[in-house]
Symmetry: C2
């Protein structure tokens, strides 16, 4: 059992380090890599990593698990850098918000003796950098796991173990599926939030409007304060999916505009009561699908880096979920 | 000095009662009116009111301050009901999110010996009803005060005193101005939030999307869980202003869609970095305008119901703010 390497010590990389430490990982050293020495020093001081390295290749040399927590467009370069240094059987995962380009890069650049399992922890906050890192950032949050087609079960288990050690809920998806879904649930809200702030800020009345801003405006525009680099990489690499959802949003907004403009009391009531009921239901009861009796098995921190026999169960569960999905879709039609 | 009447004991009416009690109002009884006996009993039990009344006219008979905290479309009927019972010099205010129709109704229905000062506390949460009432709901939040043109200074002071007793920041505006501003800062985010939830919920992939929903989706759609009745009344009574802002939003969203679709790295970076910088600046430093040396004077709870000489200062301050506004607008052009 080798070490764990975290490449990139920002909010996500730092938080993963802290979460693993909090989970009580034993006999496994965490090696962190960041370009600036200050970040490495700070990550060590905060207890997110045990050792540090100035170069990605040095950090991964003895690692059985490599976590690349870097901006989407930087991951490719990191894969190139670490490829020659990866140990036999090393598991490589990442934390990027778009999965298809990363999966493609992994297939192209990583050696056959390493195994790529895509990852996307769906958690964040506006603050960036290792100083904002938080051991509980991922607790009860979704964490997408997107294994490459030929990944062995032990590699899948390693990454599922990582998500569990961080307190997150692992969800299996293939990269293309993931990218189309997050375009709706994450990238569309980001675009809307940013656009809403721009519209209101761009008004000549902004000094007055700002005075009236309360929690509603703050919450709906919160995502506009996220890292612009991240937004840039997302919109560039998931362009087609985001544009698709922006078009749907435009249509819905146009319909709502017309409902309001017509001023028909019943129509307006209906437009706002349906989302209210359904959102309350969602907040109270969680997502609609839940397969009873089949849970992703708990992987102990010890098993995490050694593999076990859960992959078969996971595949079975995935098949069940797919069945449930198509049944649900049929019902909705 | 008479009593204070609160007509409507929901989230807002209940919270005003609790805030006044917390502020240590002495020798003044708070009389609350709600249609259902259970609500009145609960408001008394929570300590939001001292006495209760089943009819609005009974509640206001001895009141020097009447606070109508009812849905927008219910206020007119309440004005009709209380008009014959209002005491000489009674000050009437409200808490509705749209001010012009209420000001019109006040002019039309209230007797000349009563004084209407519009009010709009800009605070809220998704929960409704007196059980969700909170003495600190208005703390550090904006509270718009929209005096009718012929209101005496003592009446203005009474309502400013009310906002201060609740810990809020009074902001002066005329009703039409208010309605156009809140359309941008409050009603547009509400429409967007609701529309975003509808779009994502309406997708056949909702069961999968819901699994991936994290804090970003929750925050941007939070307003969709607000009272549909309130949304209905807002959209119906502030229709033209909301449609105006929805049109601007549509245009901005269409522009952003095209920027993303073109896939030009620099353009995308710019689209997201400007809002991020400006929002952070806003969150950190607050609204851009601040007139130094001129503050709305503190009105003691004693003065609140007796009037004092602050109105002249308020008018002076308002003139200063208007000057600053036009200067700011000139600068932005």
């Amino acid at each position: 059992v080798g070490s764990i390497a975290i490449i990139g010590l920002g909010l996500i990389g730092g938080s993963i380090g802290l979460a693993l430490k909090q989970a009580g990982l034993q006999n496994t050293r965490i090696v962190g890599m960041a370009r600036t020495p200050d970040t490495r020093r700070q990550a060590k001081k905060l207890g997110a990593i045990d050792d540090d390295a100035a170069f990605a290749a040095d950090a991964v040399r003895d690692a059985s698990l490599v976590i690349v927590a870097a901006p989407i467009l930087a991951v490719r370069g990191i894969f190139e850098e670490i490829a020659p240094a990866l140990a036999e059987g090393a598991v490589v995962t990442d934390a990027a918000s778009v999965k298809r380009p990363i999966a493609d890069a992994a297939r192209e650049l990583l050696p056959p003796h390493a195994h790529y399992i895509g990852g996307h922890p769906m958690a964040g906050k506006e603050q960036t950098g290792v100083d904002a890192a938080d051991a509980d950032l991922f607790r009860d949050k979704p964490w997408v796991v997107a294994p490459s087609v030929d990944a062995p079960e032990s590699a899948v288990n390693t990454v599922v173990g990582l998500t569990q050690a961080c307190g997150a809920n692992a969800i299996f998806m293939d990269p293309a599926e993931h990218d189309s879904y997050v375009a709706a649930i994450s990238h569309l809200p980001l675009a809307l939030s940013s656009s809403l702030f721009s519209v209101v800020f761009g008004s000549a009345a902004w000094p007055e409007l700002a005075q009236l801003a309360s929690s509603g405006f703050r919450d709906t525009t919160r995502l506009a304060s996220g890292s612009p680099e991240m937004a840039h990489d997302i919109m560039l690499t998931n362009r087609e999916n985001v544009v698709h959802w922006l078009d749907r949003m435009q249509q819905a907004l146009y319909d709502l505009r017309n409902v309001i403009d017509r001023g028909d009391s019943e129509e307006i009531a209906e437009a706002f009561s349906r989302p209210q009921i359904e959102r309350d239901n969602f907040v109270l009861n969680g997502p609609p699908r839940r397969i009873e009796g089949e849970e992703i098995p708990k992987i102990s921190l010890g098993e995490m880096l050694m593999g076990s026999k859960v992959a078969e169960m996971l595949r079975r569960q995935e098949a069940l979920i797919r069945d449930a999905e198509s049944r649900a879709k049929d019902k909705r039609r």
